[in-house]
Each structure stands twice: as C-alpha cells, then as structure tokens.
C-alpha cells in the first residue's frame, strides 16, 4: 500500500492538452481525487495523438492516456448557463480547480475567481496559460516549438553552425505542468495558515524561461550572450561521441585525474603535456576528439559506460526508449508500473521519479474514457437523478 501524500485533496481539472493535465496528473498519481472535466467533444489531446499504429481513435491517444492517469472523467459544456452552474456546484466541493482557458474567458462565463471565491473561499484556482493572465503576449497562439523559442530554451539547443533545434515531445508544456503543480501545492500550504484559497497565475513560457537561467546571469554580470553548441571545444566536457553501437556522453567529472582518463581509454598519447590542463584541453580539443573517436570505435556503449562509472568518471550512455524500458536499474527500482487501460491494454507507465519510505511512490490508475464517470460524479456525488443526466445529454450540456 503506497503512501498517498495528497489523498485528501479534491481537484477539478478542466484543462486540456499537456501542461494543465500534467499538473493534475502529478497530484492524482500521489493519491489526489481528480475529476477531469472535458467538453462534450473531449480534450483536444484525444484528437492529436500519437495513436498506436497511427490509427486515430478518441480513446487511444497516448498523449491523453499518459497525462490523465488517475483521473475520473466527466463531460460538461461550461459555455452553457447550466453547465457553468454545474461547474460552480463542483467547485463548491473541491480544493483545487485547474483551468487553461484564454485569460478573461472564465470571468466572461461568470465563473471567474471572484465568483468562485464567493462560493468556496477555500478553493484554489490555478490558471495555466502560455503567457499568464496579463502582459502583451497573453493572447498569443502557441505550439511547443514557439514556447521553447520565446523563452530562450531553443536558442541554446543544437549546434552552433546550424539553426537551433527543438527538444522532442512537448517539453515546454511538460515544464509548465510541473511548475503549475508546484504553484498549486504552494497555495495548499498557504491555505493551512490562512484557511483561504487564492488565484494562481502560471505562465508556461516563464516555466521554460526559468531553465536554464544561467545565461541570464552571464548577461547581467558581463554583457555576454551565451549560445548553443558545445560549451567548450574540449569533447570531454560533455560531447556525445560514437561507439560501436551508439553514443556515449563523455565528461572528465568525478574527481579523477586526467592521467586516469588516459588509462581508461587506453590512450597514452592523452598524457601529452599539451593536454594536462583544462586550458590545454580546450585548445587542443580536436586532437582529443580524434583520439577518443578512434578508441571508442570498437567498444560497446554500455561497456564504456559501466566500466567508466565504476571508476568514478561521470558518463552518460545515449539510450533509446526501448533500452530505457528494459533498463535493469529502473526495473530493480520499480520505476514503471503496469496499468490496464480498456482501449489501450496493459502498458508500463513511468512513475513519478521518486520512492517514498523505500517503496515506489504512488499509484498510477488508467486515464478515463470520455464521460466514463458522469453518473458517479453527477448522481453519486452531486445527487442528481439519472433523468437529469439524460436531459443534459440531449441538450448538449454533457
């Protein structure tokens, strides 16, 4: 039985896509009772995919399945007066409401923070939007690549002699979602002191812009603008070099002297005095690279990785997703959990990244089907008769 760190919290998640849903998932996976409120046509992530074998199906979007684990699913058209009223009824019973409408839209529907606060002063309203609730860009249209661009993340990714390159798989949205979960928990902690909720304004662009923040300091202290590409011409400062069967990330970190590095690569020529200092290695980076590439050609990436790590070098092996899934270390730690989903079958999902009291943390339950819990929530929780459900369905409210 896992510890449910937040299993007393009731969360309404009416956000779509990745960022808002991830923030609610992070709480759901640690026990929070999350109700996902989708418009009758469903979260747009259900239509975006990716889908198994590229065959679109509203219950088989892997983005939806991954970012909505552990939630109960209901449908509700909040753009109708009755829908807005039902949202208020739900909000009366909740601790947290996560939303991602355009700034101002919630107010226009009569369910902005002042209205919600009146109904439930303990409610924490979390707005997760690309640029926050105010500011000149608040209504800008975004995709992940544009969020990575405007926040300084893209400029620093890739090779110096090529265009900047995006980091895969909607990482901007993922950063925004994680920061939204932090902000939510900060408001929860504040509520312990004051007994009151508040309105939290999360900006996804700012989440991305807060990493890596070092380039901001470099400008503010020196006036230099950091750029992408290897930070140092010395390949042992973190370059990826090819092995027989893939790539290895090489650093000399770990506190070992340079001589030991030369021994490890069976490259006595690295003991040349020209390479003895950091400055020398930066100056002669191309030569070092040529020597390492030659020595790595016949070696396997995992052999280099494990041997080096055991000798306290700090290396990285470039793994593929299938290698990650098969990783003995991850499996030993219980980093994946099997989850049975009615449409997708049983798959292994990565857990939260930490263990609690020596056990894998939390529990991942499958994402909901569209409207799966309408009856449970509207009838069981709010106390409406089943006939009301049929009526709302007919009038497009759910």
């Amino acid at each position: 039985m896992s510890i449910g760190l937040v299993n007393d919290l009731v969360v309404l998640d009416m956000s779509q896509g990745v960022a808002g849903p991830l923030s609610a998932k992070l709480l759901a996976d640690q026990g929070a009772q999350v109700i996902k409120i989708e418009p009758p046509e469903g979260d747009y992530a259900r239509r975006r995919g990716p889908f198994p074998h590229n065959i679109p199906h509203p219950e088989k979007s892997l983005t939806f399945a991954y970012f909505n684990t552990g939630k109960k699913g209901i449908t509700l058209n909040i753009r109708t007066p009755q829908g807005a009223n039902l949202l208020k009824e739900l909000a009366r019973r909740a601790d947290i409401l996560i939303e991602d409408l355009r700034p101002g839209e919630l107010d226009a529907l009569g369910v902005g923070y002042p209205a919600l606060e009146e109904i439930n002063p303990r409610l924490i309203l979390v707005s997760v939007t690309p640029f926050g609730q105010y500011g000149p860009y608040k209504d800008f249209a975004v995709e992940d690549i544009t969020l990575q661009a405007i926040s300084g993340f893209l400029y620093l990714s890739g090779d110096a002699d090529k265009p900047p390159v995006q980091v895969a798989l909607e990482q901007a949205q993922i950063m925004g979602g994680r920061c939204a979960a932090i902000a939510t928990m900060l408001a929860v902690m504040e509520r312990w002191e004051t007994g009151r909720g508040q309105h939290v304004d999360v900006s996804i662009a700012e989440a991305v812009a807060s990493q890596p923040p070092m380039h901001i300091v470099q400008y503010a202290y020196l006036g230099v603008v950091a750029t992408r590409g290897p930070r140092s011409p010395n390949p042992t400062d973190g370059d990826y070099l090819p092995c027989k069967d893939g790539y290895i990330c090489i650093t000399t970190g770990g506190g070992n002297p340079w001589e030991k590095f030369a021994d490890f690569f069976q490259a006595p020529e690295l003991r040349d005095p020209r390479f003895a200092t950091r400055e020398g290695r930066a100056q002669h980076g191309a030569e070092i690279q040529a020597i390492l590439v030659d020595r790595l050609r016949e070696r396997g990436k995992y052999e280099v990785f494990h041997t080096g790590m055991r000798e306290r070098f700090v290396l990285g092996v470039v793994q593929t997703p299938e290698e990650v899934l098969a990783c003995p270390h991850l499996n030993e730690r219980g980093a994946f959990q099997e989850v049975a989903h009615p449409a997708l079958g049983t798959l292994r999902y990565p857990r939260s990244g930490f263990r609690l009291d020596g056990q894998p943390a939390g529990e991942i339950r499958p994402a909901p089907l569209l409207g799966q819990h309408n009856e449970e929530v509207y009838c069981g929780w709010l106390g409406y008769p089943r006939e009301a459900l049929a009526r709302w369905k007919a009038t497009g409210i759910i």
Binding site: I150, G158, E190, D201, G353, F354, R355
Partner: protein, 465 residues
C-alpha cells in the same frame, strides 16, 4: 491580479536544512526559500563549487570572490549560509541539533556520503521522529547504478530524450545545458511540498529517494507508451513536426536570428500565405493541399525562409500573431531581459547587494513562473559564506560565544574557503568567449541596456565600472 487579503508567504515557519551543491537541489530550495521557507544551506569550507563558478561582475573577482559569483547569487538567494565541517564530530553534532528543530533535511551528495557523516534517515529519525528527508541523486539510493555520478548532460543521454532530439538524419543532441537538473529540482520541490502537506495532516514524516534519471524518463512517457503499442517512436526530425506543416525555425535578418512558425490548420495556412504576400502558393500544386505540403516540406521551408530572411524576428512574430498563427522569435538572454512582456510581469527581479559584497551592486535575476493573488515572493537577501554561522548557532541552538569561537578556531565553521588562493578564478575575457564560440556576442554597455546604472545612483554601492 487583485490582492485578496493580507499578503502571506506560504512556507513561513518551515525550516529546511540543506546539504547541497550544484543545481538540482539548490534550485529546489530556492523555490521554497522564495516562498518563505527558512532554508539553512550547510556549506563546506573545503568545497565551495557553486561559489566559484562565476560569472563575476565585469570579470573582476575581488578579495572575497566566493561571495561575488552570479551563479551563486542566483541559486542561493534567500538561503542562510552555515558553514559546517561534517567530517568533524562538532559539525555533525551541530547539524543534529539543527535537525531536531527542522521540518525537512535535504541533501544531494553521492549515495553513501550521509551515512559516513552519521546523518542517514534512521539517525535523523532518532533526533526528530517526524522529519522529512529528501535524498536526491542521479540514480537514486537503491539499485545497481546507485553510486554512479551524474551531470544534467549525462542524464539527458540516459533518459532517452537525447535519442529523440536532433537534426534530421543527424546524431542525438543533448537537450539543453541543464534541463535534467532543473526538472529534477522541480520534482524535488513538488515532492517536498506534498510531504509537508502530508505531515500537516498526519503528523508523519517521510523518506524521499529522488532519482534524476527517473524524473527524466517521465518526460518521455508518450514515446515509451508508443514504443509499447506500436514498436516505434518519432525519429529525430529537426524542427519538423509529426503532422503540422509548415513547422520550423527560420532565419531572420541579422546574425543568428531566428523565428519559429507552426501551422495547424488549413485556415492558418491560408492566412500565412496572405501575410507572406504569396496567395499564389494556395494554387501551387506543390502546396495546395495538406498532403502536397507534407510531401514538399523542404521546398516549403525554403520559401518561408526566403520571406523571413529579410525581416526582423519580432516583425514576423507580431505579423503572424495578428492572424492567430503560432509564431515566436527565438530569444536569447538579452532579448528576454529586455522584452516588454517578461518585464511587465516582473519575471526578472532587481536586487541590490550590500556594499560588503564588492563590485556587484544592482543586478537582475530570473524569479518565478507563477504569481499568486495573495502571496508574493521576492529576493530578500543573498548570504555571504558563513554569514549565518553566529545567528544559527547562537540564536537557534543556544551555543555560547566561547563555543562558537572554539569551532572557528578548529575550522569547523568559518567565512573563508580552505586554500582560497588556489581557487582564485581566472575568468576568460568576453572577447575570448566570443572568439571560442561559447558566447554569441558581447555588449560592453550591458549596464545601460539593463538600466543598472540608474538603479545604483540612489544606492549605497559604489560601482567599479
């Protein structure tokens, strides 16, 4: 936003003892310290890595350079500095007495180090039964890889993210200098907050074993599911997208200036052609349909690049945004610091250092990606090495002046690193950074650009510039 009631800081009254260095734990404790937690950063006089990473104001490390570094200021703001030699019994004793009055103990040393100090979870629980302990490393406290060292860039590789990132047909590309560090920092902050909530509710502490690797694989969850269902995942495709077209990063006027554009619908495609002044493309058989555009992506990207190349990156962004098309300039540090949106939201905060911290004066720092209607974080102080030795030992723990003097004499506490002259930084000049390619360009007048001069006139600080 409106202010509903009196401002409060959510973590007032929470005390966190952190034995930390580098980024993934320091950036976590900054998040908590900004919002009111009393973070006591336990520093070693023998290892002051973060304090010697620079950058120093105008590259001039002074007498007490370990108090002057910008990365130290950014990562350690709002934290008290207590130097303690944990290899000595007095150091361990003082830290245990602190544990007894703390809520959280956090550390990011290699697995095994805290055991050597006698500060593992079981030892801490003897002192404080409901303590929350976070241990955060590259690979966690258990499992075959637990003793492996890690940097963000090596973990990028191991998580699979690098394999998925890169130019079409090219090798894997490392995500970003510190992505995994900061993502792990966020996960650390999140789980500490959840654990504090759990303790408020149940009275129980918890032991958290955080792994940067495992946090990282949660960032590629969709690819992991796709591999299991389809036996595949997206190849490295540069700035292209699985289904959006056009979708990319295009050159603009100037050196290394870029803009990104993502077109999602037929309607957006039509509007893009209008903005580009190329209605003819709508009839062009190479681009008239989505399928045609998909098949002719390279030609389409070349056409768009021909248009963007003559324009300022902001002009392209604003013209496309007027039409509701996702587009953004590729910003670098200077763009971010001078951008009206981030400025209006107060995303960069100014802080004026006291005159004791030589040559720094007023600088700007990245703050928080969230704002609250009632709680407001800010930079309240940035500690010099050992600045809080006396306040912590005397006021919190009741050490006598004699006992403190004795600890100073024994080198258990202090305000100067061991062997400071050996650590004295020799920063490379901005011109050399640009020549070697680690920096794109240098603005010698950056103070004027950031309006730092005017801020300093009213302050007590006499700038070196």
């Amino acid at each position: 936003m409106e202010n509903h009631g009196a401002p409060t800081l959510p973590l007032q009254g929470v005390r966190i003892l952190s034995v930390e260095d580098y980024l993934q734990l320091p950036w976590c404790t900054v998040i908590l310290a900004d919002m009111g937690a009393e973070v006591i950063r336990v520093e070693s006089l023998a290892r002051v890595e973060t304090r010697t990473m620079g950058p120093y104001p105008d590259n001039r490390p002074g007498q007490r350079f370990w108090d002057q570094g910008g990365i130290h200021h950014l990562w350690n703001r709002n934290k008290r500095s207590l130097t303690l030699d944990l290899t000595k019994p007095q150091g361990v004793d003082a830290s245990k007495r602190l544990v007894a009055i703390s809520d959280v103990v956090a550390e990011n040393n290699r697995a095994g180090v805290m055991e050597r100090f006698g500060l593992d979870y079981e030892a801490l629980r003897q002192v404080k039964p409901d303590i929350i302990m976070l241990r955060t490393t590259g690979y966690g406290q258990t499992g075959a890889w637990r003793r492996y060292g890690a940097f963000a860039r090596t973990v990028d590789a191991v998580t699979g993210l690098s394999h998925l990132t890169g130019y079409k047909g090219g090798p894997p590309v490392r995500a970003n200098p510190s992505y995994m560090d900061i993502t792990a920092a966020w996960n650390n902050a999140l789980v500490i907050l959840m654990a504090l909530h759990y303790r408020r509710r149940t009275g129980k502490g918890v032991f958290i074993d955080m792994s940067m690797y495992e946090t990282g694989i949660s960032c590629i969850g969709v690819a992991l599911l796709e591999y299991q269902t389809s036996g595949t995942y997206p190849p490295r495709m540069g700035n292209a997208h699985r289904w959006m077209v056009p979708h990319g990063c295009y050159p603009c006027a100037g050196q290394d200036e870029w803009v990104t554009i993502a077109v999602r619908t037929e309607e957006e495609w039509k509007r893009l052609c209008q903005v580009m002044g190329r209605p003819d493309l709508l009839e062009d058989p190479r681009f008239a349909t989505y399928e045609a555009r998909w098949a002719n992506q390279d030609a389409l990207d070349a056409l768009i690049a021909r248009w963007t190349r003559t324009l300022d990156k902001r002009t392209v962004m604003l013209r496309l945004q007027e039409q509701g098309i996702p587009s953004a300039s590729v910003f670098h540090a200077k763009d971010l610091l001078t951008d009206p949106h981030f400025r209006q939201r107060g995303f960069f905060e100014r802080y004026t250092h006291p005159p004791e911290v030589e040559g720094v004066g007023t600088r700007v720092y990245t703050v928080r990606p969230y704002q609250f209607s009632r709680s407001r974080g800010s930079i309240r102080f940035i500690a010099r090495l050992g600045e809080h030795n006396r306040p912590v030992l005397a006021d919190l723990l009741g050490y006598s002046p004699e006992a403190i003097a004795e600890m100073e004499l024994a080198g258990v506490i202090g305000t100067e690193p061991v062997d400071a002259e050996r650590l004295r930084p020799r920063p490379s000049p901005p011109e050399a950074q640009v020549r070697l390619g680690s920096s794109a360009f240098w603005d010698p007048d950056y103070r004027k650009v950031l309006a730092l001069e005017e801020q300093q006139e009213g302050g007590a600080h006499d700038a070196q510039a």
